[in-house]
């Protein structure tokens, strides 16, 4: 099984390399056509990334990684049990449905100024905002997955005299895990977007700040180095979630 997984991974990394080459060639062509300092060729951006990674980017990237990871973890830990509970219990679903329905479409980022006032300009306000956005995505997906779970699985485990907790553990959680991981991957994309936004206000730390700061000082190579660094961070987290899915949900594509 491991060798098969390995072979699959190598063929996937080959595809990744080809895609990367394609992206960089397109970027290069675009830079040649536009001929503007605002879009430096990829090679210059990469050189700049290597040159300033340790001295300037790494610390900002570390702060950002911390913010986004903590948010994603908190959101998952809160949303998954709640989503499973609501999806399993019809009464809880009926009570919570209007609340979720009404609050879900509100763009949570509009609360940034309020959070800055209430929670200060430190990490807390940023983490709370990212968590809030991602929380909803995971909650709704988990709830729907739990709600649509086929009754036969529950019945067959109930007939073994399973307790409520065992039904969560052996039926609801594993059955909804693929949906949970998918919502986490989608949530990661949103989290990175919100991260960038919160890092452009009232902070001097984080890769978002670094990018905007380079932009305002017209250091475009640095700015693109920051963009590449942020993208790579997102890519790494995405790969991590992908790997979790391959290991934890082997039954989906055995």
């Amino acid at each position: 099984m491991l060798s098969r997984l390995f072979r699959k991974l190598t063929s996937e990394s080959l595809k990744t390399v080809i895609t990367l080459v394609f992206l960089f060639v397109s970027w290069h062509l675009l830079a040649l056509i536009l001929q503007t300092p605002a879009l430096p060729p990829p090679w210059d951006a990469l050189k700049s990334l290597v040159a300033i990674f340790r001295s300037e980017i790494a610390s900002h990237l570390g702060v950002s990684l911390y913010r986004v990871t903590v948010s994603l973890v908190i959101a998952t830990v809160l949303a998954v049990p709640l989503g499973l509970f609501i999806g399993k219990n019809k009464a809880a679903d009926r009570l919570s449905a209007p609340f979720i329905y009404l609050t879900y479409p509100i763009p949570k980022v509009v609360f940034l100024p309020i959070f800055l006032i209430l929670l200060g300009i430190g990490n807390v306000s940023k983490i709370v905002l990212i968590t809030l956005v991602v929380f909803y995505q995971i909650l709704v997906t988990t709830r729907d997955a739990a709600r649509n779970l086929a009754r036969e699985y529950v019945l067959s485990v109930k007939s073994l005299r399973a307790s409520e907790w065992e039904i969560y553990r052996h039926v609801y959680f594993p059955a909804c895990l693929p949906a949970i991981l998918t919502s986490m991957r989608l949530g990661l994309g949103t989290a990175l977007a919100v991260l960038f936004l919160v890092e452009t206000y009232a902070t001097r730390e984080g890769i978002g700040f670094f990018i905007m700061n380079s932009w305002s000082s017209l250091a475009y190579e640095k700015m693109f180095a920051g963009i590449i660094a942020m993208s790579l961070m997102g890519f790494a987290l995405y790969l991590l979630l992908d790997f979790c899915e391959k290991v934890l949900c082997r039954w989906v594509n055995p």
Binding site: Y153, S156, S159, R161, A162, S163, H170, V171, P174, P254
Partner: protein
């Protein structure tokens, strides 16, 4: 012989769109220890409702249901095999079979031992690392049987267990159930649509009518479990007689 299962004037009602529907009415049934019985009836006659009461999944009934003198909730010696086998797709064959033992909180060693034993007995040991989606219909049914038998039940309830199998696999599984029944002295109640299956497997045959479900005929069947019976005239005569009472129901 003393009865293992006794049902007296069982009635089950449920509500659908604020309307009371009677699924089962005045059901009386008695099964001695170690008997195999089959229950046939038209679809929607409340057969599955009856099984859910016996398995302790449905507590909203009136009347008396006793398993070895206990109510279905108290008695944990009943195993239920559902129509679609009820195997968990996210667990391997091994983990599916082990689950019941795990839930009964048996020591880990004993769980593993018993799981291995039953898988070997049913010829499933080589498939233990597979997921249900990687098995054929017959293999899945075998796993479902293994999962029930590993708990050493006294009563085995089967809800149309072979309805999605092809004819040959179906006969193979019927033979397997028969063999297991003869070896273990289980009491078996098998619900089926298939008249020949009812005659082949049931020492006692119950015929149910639809809406509300009621037992309209009960007969003793000396042909049950006789491998050679499948071709005999009596076998076909009995099947034909059952067919006509089903038509009338």
């Amino acid at each position: 012989m003393e009865a293992y299962l006794t049902i007296r004037s069982l009635q089950v009602d449920y509500y659908q769109n604020n309307q009371q529907i009677t699924a089962l009415k005045d059901v009386n049934l008695s099964l001695p220890y170690g008997t195999s019985a089959s229950l046939i009836g038209p679809s929607g006659c409340g057969k599955s409702t009856l099984l859910s009461v016996l398995a302790g999944l449905n507590r909203k009934y009136s009347g008396e249901v006793l398993l070895n003198g206990q109510s279905p909730q108290e008695n944990d010696k009943t195993a239920l095999i559902l129509q679609d086998y009820g195997l968990l797709p996210w667990k391997t064959v091994w983990d599916n079979v082990k689950l019941g033992l795990q839930i009964r909180r048996l020591p880990k060693r004993e769980c593993e031992q018993k799981t291995e034993e039953i898988l070997r007995k049913l010829g499933l040991l080589d498939l233990r690392k597979r997921f249900p989606s990687q098995l054929s219909g017959g293999q899945r049914q075998r796993v479902a049987i293994a999962r029930s038998l590993v708990l050493e039940p006294e009563l085995l309830l089967m809800d149309e267990p072979f309805s999605s199998l092809d004819a040959l696999t179906r006969e193979e599984m019927q033979d397997l159930v028969l063999r297991l029944w003869q070896e273990t002295n289980l009491t078996i109640l098998i619900i089926t649509h298939n008249i020949e299956e009812a005659v082949f497997l049931g020492q006692k045959i119950f015929v149910m009518s639809a809406c509300p479900g009621k037992i309209i005929r009960e007969l003793d069947n000396p042909l049950a479990g006789d491998y050679s019976a499948r071709g005999k005239t009596e076998f076909w005569e009995l099947a034909a007689s059952l067919r006509s009472s089903l038509r009338r129901s």
